[in-house]
Symmetry: C2
Subunit: 229 residues, 2 copies
């Protein structure tokens, strides 16, 4: 039996792999993306172009302007750091972003009659964001089951699936390749060139490049330059 | 010492009272409203007009289109019920609405350096929405303290304040009157006339009318008709 699931889908490497995993597990993927004033809107354009190709039944793009709220290099004039991945939570952190994304996913899931939500967070090769950790996801799931009519009326139990959470970037890529993911159709850069080419130097590019190197797979996308982690 | 707090502010009776309480407790109120395709947009217009008058330092209006997601009489073509308050969760329930609202409030609070969020939910004279109950609020608060850089780095602990949660509508009105709230500047109807006059028959109007009657206070706003609870 196939079941509906909402997949948070940015068009990037992680969420595209996440969608492929949901599909492989027998879920009907309903992809959800966000246009929130992010600097890397080329990612969203690719998400719109590729959602059907990667197997989404439907693709919902929710628009809101996070630049009004600010507080992040991804949505404001703060420069995206290019010096390599550090030990602190970086300025690319967007306050409450995954909480907002998961909240919209929860609303859509409830309307669809779905109880499964997939998010491609990763607590290993990641940038240190607090809202990527297992304890955060568990707390969100608990809250979701108290928040919603569907759960409170006993129609089901919401589960937040995080299939990538304990994988290295190389393992994610290996899994995606095994599932036939075309990584040429994914984009991960926080600060692409005006032509949409990945910078190669932001945290996201560095983590991606390192992952492909470790997986022994050639990254099919183009980079302006290639930074070391 | 005055402290910043984000107040979810719809311009309605409950949230206006909630803002007055936050102010009386010594907080600097930062009001946050949402334009999400709600049927009762007259409420939002009043919120914009009155935020400064009621004492908000700043007023942020977040816009997104919940009609895409649907699932509620407040955002779709489903009729708003007018038969009186029932025992089930009604069709005016908006899936995950308070979760989405609180998530945005959490993001803004983090950017402002605030750790206090006020929401005027009520678990007594209410419509039976699951996301108005104390156990839901407690779960959101726990999640918020795991979600955010500010909390994880130990800069403070987020508190979701619900000063109205155990009050009757009459007690809320009594409290507001004591704090000088001008209820002529508030609006609560789910389905106002094109002229912006309260219908008098939806759950929200009925609960409001009953509250004023029980408080022994005259409701200063106009109604098309006045329904009994």
């Amino acid at each position: 039996m196939s079941k509906k699931a909402v997949i948070l889908y940015s068009g990037g490497l992680d969420s595209t792999t996440c969608l492929a995993i949901a599909k492989a597990e027998g879920f009907e993927p309903y992809a959800m993306s966000f246009s929130y004033g992010q600097r890397h809107s080329v990612e969203l354009e690719l998400a719109k172009k590729n959602a059907g190709t990667v197997g989404a039944i439907d693709h919902m793009v929710v628009e809101f302007d996070y630049r009004k709220i600010g507080g992040s290099a991804l949505t404001s004039d703060i420069d995206v750091p290019k010096e390599g991945v550090g030990n602190n939570i970086p300025v690319t952190y967007v306050p409450a972003r995954n909480t907002i994304f998961l909240s919209f996913a929860l609303g859509w899931a409830e309307v669809l009659g779905a109880f499964d939500i997939f998010i491609g967070v990763n607590a290993l090769d990641y940038s240190g964001y607090p809202d990527c950790r297992p304890e955060y996801i568990a707390a969100f799931e608990q809250m979701a089951n108290l928040a919603t009519k569907a759960a409170v009326e006993g129609k089901g139990h919401f589960t937040i699936h995080t299939p990538l959470i304990h994988l290295t970037k190389a393992e994610i890529i290996g899994k995606g390749v095994a599932l036939g993911v075309d990584y040429g159709r994914t984009h991960s850069c926080y600060d692409p060139t005006p032509e949409g080419i990945a910078c190669g130097l932001c945290d996201s590019c560095r983590l991606r490049l390192k992952g492909f190197a470790e997986a022994g797979v050639t990254d099919p996308i183009r980079y302006a330059v290639k930074g070391e982690k």
